[in-house]
Symmetry: C2
């Protein structure tokens, strides 16, 4: 079968690899209908450290079950399914408490079993991982479902772990797909104002479509001052940090109200001043999103037509042209790219 | 008037100082009925850095209003009052959002205006700071009220900022007065199990009286293993870190469940592995307790006889013998000391 492979930083090749097959009774093999390119894939493409080490790429997919192991009970051949970016058994004590990302049997990124940017993927722990999608593979909502593999539950996690936000002022630092999904999640949760901090016109436009009430494009201290001015000098009740770099962490601290919350969903690649958090009563929430735990409720909303994060996909490329998709993300030509095998 | 003064590390002298007087229209002068010795006072006595720099000591008091400035409206001469450990105006935007510790007009520790371990104290921003106590100064509940100046609201803050804990398993790291008050707060909030980690028999006994269901006295990895064993290998839903030193922070990380919460109320004098928090979905709450915000509700419970944290006071000393009180705390002879002018 064909698969996108990270040959070296800056080069994705689409080549032939052995077919995905059942290896364990708990596996499924899924023919990929649509795969996403994630910021973590792009980190690897840029040669930066992260959870994706290559050569396999992609951990977001919607597909059709092609084969199941003898122990698989919850999905059948022919089902359209979506998977979160990590595998989990769904039965261990950590899955039971809502953190399948810490699953005692799984907790693996799908790239550890094979990439999703391929014609097919082997899915370990299929019963715990896969979620049946009640539509056919040509449904126009498939891109919206694909966001549920990672970016939408991540944005949702940022908001949900912060506690109630009805009526609150939320600042979202970063206009990537996760930040945009956090805008959507914040507004769905009743936030009165959502200030989106970013620098890309197209992404900010998507953010406005998702409900951002204000955008802040100035960088550094000037941007911080704009948020403080807009909030009576107090700062935002909740700051979603959806970048992970030091500058964004500093911005989050600068624009968060004392007594507020910073939700870290960018993957912190920097330091946070814990003494300042303590003195200012700034709580830290977020974390690696337990996407599987949120999938059923978010999927129900997509199916009902009440949730559509699909505008984050600004470019669709065939599997053979995956490299071009990555390049478009690096060059900020597309917020997020959908790969079609 | 007489006051306890930190002459040098390890030596409190009780000496004559100028009488506390009204300096600003918003001041009150309070004759001190009972003052507490706090862990932060003891830090200064031990020569460690912290918010208390001396020579003034004490930021916890119950007393009788002796004089008020012309702008003071909410308390009258003769009222019994209690104050939180920091002054605040009660009207600024930060006070309004429940963080009087970040008050834009105050946010000062009482030791910056004069110590509470004295015959009297000048209280700036009296309207925002003082809370009228509906009892007389000889009431047996005065020590319970005195805990509301700092340690009880701090324990309460640890639990409250963590979100609902009904039915939860809570581990409290540290058997000082704050840890013990956190035990009390956790049980009042409906925690099913409270594991108290400490090393002092007398304090652990108080903790059991406050509702701790289990005590763990082993240190380091052995203690961590005991908590994990007691929680099916998962760890506690909420860990209250009531020490602040690196070893306690490490213990908090070791015994917290993935997807759980660590509430920091010890004042973090160490580092926390933010990447591990992110990957394990461990949220960080707590902070410098906004005691003034909680005082009315906690006071109502003390008045109603439903809350009595006073067992944390294991020794009462006269003002002249304040040094002996400090020494008793350093030597672990008393969990907490009450000073009577």
């Amino acid at each position: 079968m064909k698969a996108a492979l990270l040959n070296r930083p800056g080069e994705i090749i689409t080549g032939e690899v052995p077919d995905a097959v059942i290896e364990l009774p708990t596996d499924a093999v899924v023919r990929v209908v649509a795969a996403g390119v994630c910021g973590t894939d792009v980190r690897a493409y840029r040669g930066l450290p992260g959870p994706v080490s290559g050569p396999w790429c992609g951990h977001e997919f919607v597909g059709v079950v092609e084969d199941v192991g003898t122990a698989v009970e919850t999905v059948r051949v022919g089902d359209l399914v979506v998977a979160p970016f990590m595998f989990s058994d769904g039965t261990c004590a950590r899955c039971a408490r809502g953190v399948p990302t810490s699953c005692m049997a799984g907790g693996m990124w799908s790239v550890q079993a094979g990439g999703a940017q391929a014609e097919a993927i082997r899915v370990p722990l299929a019963d715990g991982t896969l979620v049946h999608v009640p539509m056919d593979e040509h449904d126009e909502r498939v891109p919206a479902v694909l966001t549920l593999a990672d970016v939408m539950p991540t944005g949702y996690h940022a908001v949900r772990t912060a506690g109630p936000v009805a009526g609150a002022t939320v600042a979202v630092v970063g206009d990537g797909a996760v930040g945009l999904c956090a805008v959507l999640a914040a507004r769905r949760a009743g936030a009165e104002r959502v200030l989106l901090l970013g620098h890309h016109e197209g992404r900010l436009r998507i953010g406005k479509g998702f409900g951002a009430t204000e955008v802040v494009t100035a960088r550094g201290p000037e941007g911080h001052a704009q948020v403080l001015d807009a909030t009576g000098g107090i700062g935002a009740d909740l700051v979603v940090e959806a970048v992970g770099e030091q500058g964004a962490l500093d911005t989050a601290m600068a624009v968060c109200a004392d007594g507020g919350v910073i939700s870290l969903v960018g993957g912190p690649h920097g330091a946070i001043d814990m003494a300042a958090c303590f003195l200012r009563n700034v709580r830290l929430t977020g974390g690696l999103a337990p996407a599987r735990a949120y999938l059923p409720e978010l999927l129900a909303d997509v199916v009902a037509g009440e949730l559509d994060p699909s505008p984050v996909f600004e470019l669709t490329v065939p599997l053979d042209a995956a490299d071009g998709g990555y390049r478009a993300m690096v060059d900020r030509q597309a917020t997020k790219v959908l790969v079609e095998p």
